[in-house]
């Protein structure tokens, strides 16, 4: 009996038909494709995208040039030069992030004692010529100025988990 059953199952392609029934069902399933420029997936407030440097509310830049981010960066993407400013504070004269090297691990943000370097939610950026994705201090600060509202909101949302 078993043998006869197996014979018919084999010759009537039972298992193949079962497989086709499965794909046939999915033929009519709701499609999960997100059509990117028009539709976007939800982002976490911990999203690690393009970098930015923040300022305090009075306009003073946060970074104190401690070089912790440079030390922790696993891809060696950060380059910092430090000097004393006229008012006697320690400030960076150069703060560059090479986005080609960066792996977006978030360690720089994690290590920063004053929350100066952060990663924002921006993921749609591009460079049109060589050097466009080598972000200098001015570019990072400009990013921070532009996105401060969203950055502050995201840090606040994340604060209670820290």
């Amino acid at each position: 009996m078993q043998a006869i059953k197996k014979f018919f199952k084999t010759f009537l392609l039972y298992e193949l038909v079962k497989g086709m029934a499965l794909t046939g069902r999915y033929f009519f399933a709701r499609k999960i494709t997100v059509q990117f420029p028009e539709e976007k997936t939800p982002q976490s407030f911990r999203f690690r995208g393009l970098h930015a440097q923040r300022r305090y509310a009075n306009g003073e830049e946060r970074c104190i040039g401690c070089k912790l981010c440079e030390a922790v960066c696993p891809a060696l993407a950060i380059k910092i030069e430090v000097a004393e400013r006229e008012d006697g504070t320690r400030r960076t004269t150069q703060y560059d992030i090479d986005l080609f090297k960066c792996i977006f691990c978030g360690f720089c943000e994690e290590s920063c004692p004053v929350d100066a370097i952060v990663e924002t939610r921006v993921l749609e950026y591009h460079g049109e010529k060589r050097g466009d994705l080598y972000y200098t201090k001015a570019m990072l600060l400009a990013n921070g100025d532009k996105l401060e509202e969203q950055i502050a909101k995201d840090r606040a949302a994340d604060a209670k988990y820290r």
Binding site: L16, G19, M20, T23, Y26, F28, A29, K31, T33, Q35
Partner: protein
């Protein structure tokens, strides 16, 4: 329709004189080949859609409305690409191979009837002609693999040759059953042999059901489609026989593959599904029925590709030699014996 053709014939005769017959034949060839080319283009789009839907994606939808211009864009892209001829290849054969692949798959259409008496040439040995030409198309693949002078291409060609040889036999025996049942090798007569008062029940699908399965599966193997795409096997031998081809030469192989798919679908519809005959007695026979049947079988082709993983090579050979060939031989005997009894009503 008939009067229109007659008027056309008379005016043509007046215009061209004795040159009318070749002119008229060329017109008829174009009327077959151009729609096939269009069908091939849109079959690639249909394939991408069907597979995408089965994988819960939406498929191409950017070029033109709903992506309807996608095949045109693909064609234009391939047309403008450079054809690279490897320096160590056999140049003449390298260029000849895509032509060898495409030509038989187009030539075979000469005997395919689209409606009662509507074939380019109403050959009495049409089935033999089809069998001969479909096996010829493997030479394109073998030559491509050999002329490329690349190990992947060569492996693909060897596999393809062995595969076609194995499945050709099963396919041939399946067709012998159709010959027995219809007592004719003329494709038009085969369809008319399936005529009767009961519509769908008169088709050879019913008495020859195992042969129908064998023919469809061998057809998939014959056209090198998944799950029998051993000759391509992108995950094993990169792209198999056409790994060295680019641009339009590459496109010709694809044209051949899809033209073969459509051809096998037409033949299946003609030999097992009653061609242009209506499945229910109260509806008229029409070309549209043939198109519907062909579309269904083509959909099956795409469905197979979306469902089944590729066969291992030894499994493929086992299926061909140890399952299909014995099965078809047995069924030939069964049908021949069956036809001697009064139980044969087809």
């Amino acid at each position: 329709m008939m009067e229109l053709l007659q008027i056309l014939e008379q005016t043509g005769q007046g215009l061209f004189g004795s040159a009318w017959l070749p002119v008229w034949t060329v017109v008829k060839i174009l009327a077959i080949v151009l729609p096939i080319m269009g069908a091939v283009a849109y079959l690639t789009l249909a394939e991408r859609w069907v597979i995408a839907w089965m994988q819960v994606r939406i498929g191409p939808n950017r070029v033109g409305y709903f992506g309807l211009l996608q095949p045109i864009a693909d064609g234009v892209k391939l047309l403008f690409k450079e054809i690279i001829v490897p320096s160590s290849s056999n140049k003449a054969l390298f260029v000849l191979a895509p032509i060898m692949a495409l030509a038989p798959s187009l030539a075979a259409w000469a005997v395919v009837p689209f409606n009662d008496g509507m074939a380019l040439s109403n050959v009495n040995a049409g089935l033999l002609y089809i069998l001969a030409l479909t096996s010829l198309s493997v030479y394109g693949i073998i030559i491509a693999g050999w002329a490329s002078n690349s190990k992947y291409a060569f492996l693909g060609a060897v596999r393809s040759a062995a595969q076609i040889v194995s499945y050709e036999i099963a396919m041939g025996f399946a067709l012998v059953c159709v010959l027995l049942a219809s007592q004719s090798m003329n494709l038009g007569d085969i369809v008319n042999g399936q005529k009767g008062g009961y519509g769908l029940l008169n088709w050879y699908l019913i008495p020859l059901f195992p042969m129908f399965l064998v023919y469809v599966i061998s057809g998939v193997a014959e056209t090198n489609r998944a799950p029998f795409d051993m000759a391509e096997g992108e995950s094993e031998i990169v792209a198999g026989f056409h790994v060295e081809y680019s641009g339009m030469a590459f496109a010709l192989f694809f044209l051949a593959e899809y033209a073969n798919m459509i051809l096998v679908s037409f033949l299946t519809a003609i030999m097992f599904l009653g061609g242009w005959l209506s499945p229910v007695p109260f509806l008229p026979d029409s070309f549209i029925w043939l198109l519907a049947k062909v579309s269904f079988i083509l959909f099956l082709f795409l469905w197979f590709r979306a469902t089944f993983p590729r066969y291992r090579y030894d499994q493929l050979m086992r299926l061909g030699w140890k399952v299909f060939i014995p099965l078809t031989i047995v069924w030939v005997v069964v049908v021949a014996a069956w036809m001697q009894t009064p139980l044969w009503v087809w």
